[in-house]
């Protein structure tokens, strides 16, 4: 993946809108760890969990107490809990499997973003970032709020940590700040309005390091990638910056503390700055110097190879994809509605974006036929290879048997039970209690309505038809589909010829490439 010239045809990133999800007006989205569930917060205060595989609704979290628009949604690490922040200044913690509310707390200001502590499987600690004051750590069960410092002057050089008490507000008004946990939750990275990143111990609230972001512009978003190796900041100077996390992932706090101790600087400020420079190193900057667009909801891809950012300009739905080295590889354009949130699937090259109208668009790779699947010994080649025949290839009785060495030890004991472990997830050993899926309950049939019930919307579950080219009915290669002309088939509804799930007609214009659509062929 480190090729100097990025070929957009080879890259593992989405290209076209595959489908859209509709249910009320959705405002913000979050994938669970495995990417098979997508939680979406709506404007009516409910949180909908979509089953990403069937594109249907798996669960709805709703109660009558909260009817204000949801501003952010966050999963706990293994999918047991969801934290929801709403415009009525509340934070609500839900139990996913039971669908019940665990806790709710009201804050002084409406939180724009709330993140659950990533270190435990049933967290009750969270980080809340209101619009116009300092971020705070909220313990949802004991209802204590601890305000975080947003600059050095807040705490003084070595003053005692701020007093923990209920409903304390803290710092100066109108200082928008962004904050996030590192991968295991022992450190919090706060981006303040002076363009500084503060690294704070999440338990003692002590500032351990400072990094000055060049440009000193207000930091609007700060987010880690899934592995915790890279940090992204989005600043008011229309630039997205990528920092490499130099601290070890698991012992970050200890390493930083040690660095502070051993630091040669005498002045405390200098100490913090040098600790900061030892924890983060600026890696790359992204901006669009032509259109000078502000960015919205930037984040990393699941493997950290790509960075995606939405254009914050109203009236356009543009998603920019860069590789980590800084090259812009793709701009995805959607329908002319502003983009309000963006998320990249943890594993697949799929991006999900929320538009101002409340629809959630799913962007995926365009489907290409895999010709090497046709026969067992077909192999795909990257480029033409000269074929050199063996000496005895054309002999009637070959002397040497063609030996295909596939490097498999035939005598090795067969193991049918153990897997190699999930390579995509580094701490899958800890995930024993992980909620991997929500088992569905089939909706009971409406009795005795066998005719005319064809509701073929693009909302849930469209059909796709894949042709097996060896089929005798088809007669030719590739992309033919046949009509199903049986009276028992409600689902195909006549003339649907889609190769995979596709959105309704109005989105045909907005795809960046035209999908190959096979000509209709009537069954003889």
């Amino acid at each position: 993946m480190n090729a100097p010239i990025i070929d957009p045809l080879q890259g593992d990133f989405p290209e076209v809108i595959e489908e859209y999800l509709e249910r009320g007006v959705m405002k913000c989205i979050a994938f669970n760890r495995r990417g098979n569930l997508l939680a979406a917060g709506c404007s009516d205060g409910s949180c909908v969990i979509w089953d990403f595989e069937t594109r249907g609704i798996a669960k709805e979290l709703k109660d009558k107490d909260c009817v204000a628009a949801i501003t952010s949604v966050c999963w706990s690490k293994y999918g047991h809990r969801i934290l929801v922040s709403a415009a009525d200044k509340t934070l609500t913690l839900w139990d996913v499997v039971k669908g019940e509310r665990i806790a709710r707390i009201a804050l002084q200001q409406a939180p724009l973003q709330a993140r659950l502590h990533p270190g435990s499987s049933t967290p009750s600690l969270c980080l809340a970032c209101p619009l116009s004051s300092a971020p705070m750590i909220v313990d949802l069960l004991t209802e204590t709020i601890t305000v975080l410092p947003v600059s050095l002057s807040d705490t003084g050089n070595d003053a005692a940590p701020p007093v923990r008490n209920k409903f304390s507000d803290g710092s100066a008004p109108y200082t928008p700040t962004a904050a996030c946990f590192n991968k295991y939750g022992d450190l919090i990275y706060v981006g303040n309005s002076k363009g500084e990143i503060l690294i704070i111990n999440s338990i003692s609230i002590e500032i351990l390091g400072i990094v000055s972001v060049p440009g000193s512009a207000v930091i609007k978003n700060i987010v880690f990638n899934r592995s915790g190796r890279y940090l992204l900041t989005n600043s008011n100077d229309r630039t997205i910056r990528i920092y490499e996390n130099l601290l070890p992932l698991k012992g970050g706090l200890a390493a930083l503390g040690k660095a502070n101790h051993e630091s040669a600087e005498q002045d405390d400020d200098e100490k913090l700055k040098s600790a900061g420079s030892r924890s983060l190193a600026l890696f790359q900057e992204f901006q669009d110097s032509i259109t000078r667009v502000h960015w919205k909801a930037p984040c990393f891809s699941g493997d950290g190879e790509w960075v995606v950012g939405g254009s914050a300009s109203k009236g356009e739905h543009k998603i920019y994809i860069w590789d980590r080295a800084g090259h812009l590889v793709k701009i995805l354009e959607g329908p002319k509605e502003a983009l309000i949130d963006l998320a990249w699937h943890p594993i697949k090259p799929v991006v999900v974006s929320v538009s101002l109208t409340g629809l959630v668009y799913i962007w995926a790779k365009d489907y290409t036929e895999n010709w090497s699947a046709f026969a067992p010994d077909f192999k795909e080649l990257e480029e033409n290879e000269e074929y050199v025949e063996r000496e005895d290839e054309f002999d009637l009785v070959p002397e040497t048997e063609k030996v295909k060495d596939l490097g498999i030890n035939e005598d090795e004991d067969i193991d049918i039970l153990n897997t190699d472990g999930d390579s995509d997830f580094s701490d899958s050993d800890m995930s024993q209690g992980e909620i991997r899926f929500l088992p569905p309950d089939p909706c009971p049939d409406v009795p005795e309505m066998e005719d005319g019930l064809v509701v073929n919307t693009s909302k849930e579950g469209e059909i796709s038809e894949t042709e097996s080219p060896l089929s005798e009915e088809a007669g030719q290669n590739g992309h033919l589909t046949n009509h199903e002309s049986s009276p028992l088939e409600e689902d195909t509804g006549g003339m649907r010829l889609k190769r995979k799930r596709m959105p309704s007609e109005k989105f045909m214009d907005f795809e960046t490439e035209s999908i190959k659509k096979p000509p209709p062929k009537s069954k003889p």
Partner: protein, 312 residues
């Protein structure tokens, strides 16, 4: 890594009980995921759910208008899905025995059905040569894959739910991507003999394929190579469903029925360990309890029984 195996070292199985509850041939038996229940499907258009503990009948699922060929349990053992010659699939709520949903779409008899691990999707194959993936919640067909040129005999998800393997009388065994319905790989593509069964191993690395030439093979599907062969039984006509026995307290086995009325047990290396006799007709389907060493088997028309085998 030795190739010389010690002689058969499992404690032999013996017949514990014979259950004759069906009026016609039994086509399929399966244990629920937790092993507390098992169900049988029959050409008499009904399914019966039994308790493993007492071996007593718990419910009788009636509703199909033609014989039932296959059944599958959902992961939490709440639902059973059955595939029938009346061209439909039915989802039953086990607790009450009522049919919750009817899935229509196949244009000919439905022959095989399976849930995925998440139990939000079903895959079915039928005599209309298609493999269909259904959304359990809405009952709509998510993919209709024109998979083969002859009836599909078997369709199964892997454990992660991202692949489907299908086998057919046309002799081919193919692997499909479950998300897009796209063709991923062909494992076998000779025209004879027909493939009567194909299923992933629990870890998804291997595919167990039965062909109508008395052969049962374990393929490494990434390499496309057959690793082990299990023979000794007879399988020329019927789609006999073999299975893995992975109960924790003993050796892993491959168990299959046979047209010579016996149940065969092999160890993974291919050595036949035991032959269970007792059925009076072809043993069409076998199932192994997930944790305890118990095997159930089903016999065809002249037999009509479900037999329960345990170790001494």
């Amino acid at each position: 890594m030795s190739t010389t195996q010690p002689p058969a070292a499992i404690r032999p199985y013996r017949l514990r009980k014979t259950l004759s509850s069906h009026a016609l041939a039994v086509s399929c038996v399966k244990f629920s995921n937790d092993g507390s229940l098992f169900a049988s499907a029959s050409l008499d258009q009904t399914l019966i759910v039994y308790s493993t503990q007492t071996l007593a009948q718990i419910s009788h699922l009636i509703g199909h208008s033609d014989g039932v060929s296959d059944l599958s349990w959902s992961s939490d053992s709440t639902y059973i899905c059955s595939a029938s010659d009346d061209r439909t699939l039915r989802i039953w709520l086990v607790r009450t025995g009522e049919c919750v949903k009817v899935l229509r779409g196949h244009t000919d008899r439905v022959f095989c059905v399976n849930f995925n691990t998440q139990s939000n999707l079903l895959v079915s194959g039928g005599f209309d040569d298609t493999v269909r993936v259904w959304d359990v919640k809405t009952g709509k067909a998510v993919h209709v894959i024109r998979a083969h040129t002859m009836p599909v005999t078997s369709a199964n998800f892997n454990r992660d739910g991202n692949l489907i393997v299908s086998g057919s009388h046309d002799g081919s065994c193919k692997v499909w991507d479950a998300d897009t319905g796209a063709w991923v790989k062909t494992l076998i593509d000779v025209t004879v003999p027909g493939v009567s069964f194909a299923k992933f191993s629990p870890n998804g690395k291997f595919i167990l394929v039965a062909t109508l030439d008395d052969n049962l093979k374990l393929w490494n599907h990434a390499a496309g190579k057959s690793m082990r062969s299990y023979t000794g039984h007879t399988n020329r006509v019927y789609c006999i469903t073999p299975t893995f026995s992975v109960s924790s307290d003993s050796e892993k086995l491959i168990v299959s029925g046979s047209e010579d009325k016996c149940v065969y047990l092999w160890n993974l290396q291919g050595k036949m360990l035991q032959k269970l006799e007792g059925h009076t007709d072809t043993v069409i389907s076998v199932a192994c309890h997930p944790t305890v060493n118990m095997i159930i088997s089903a016999g065809l028309e002249k037999d009509k029984t479900v037999r329960v085998w345990v170790q001494q």
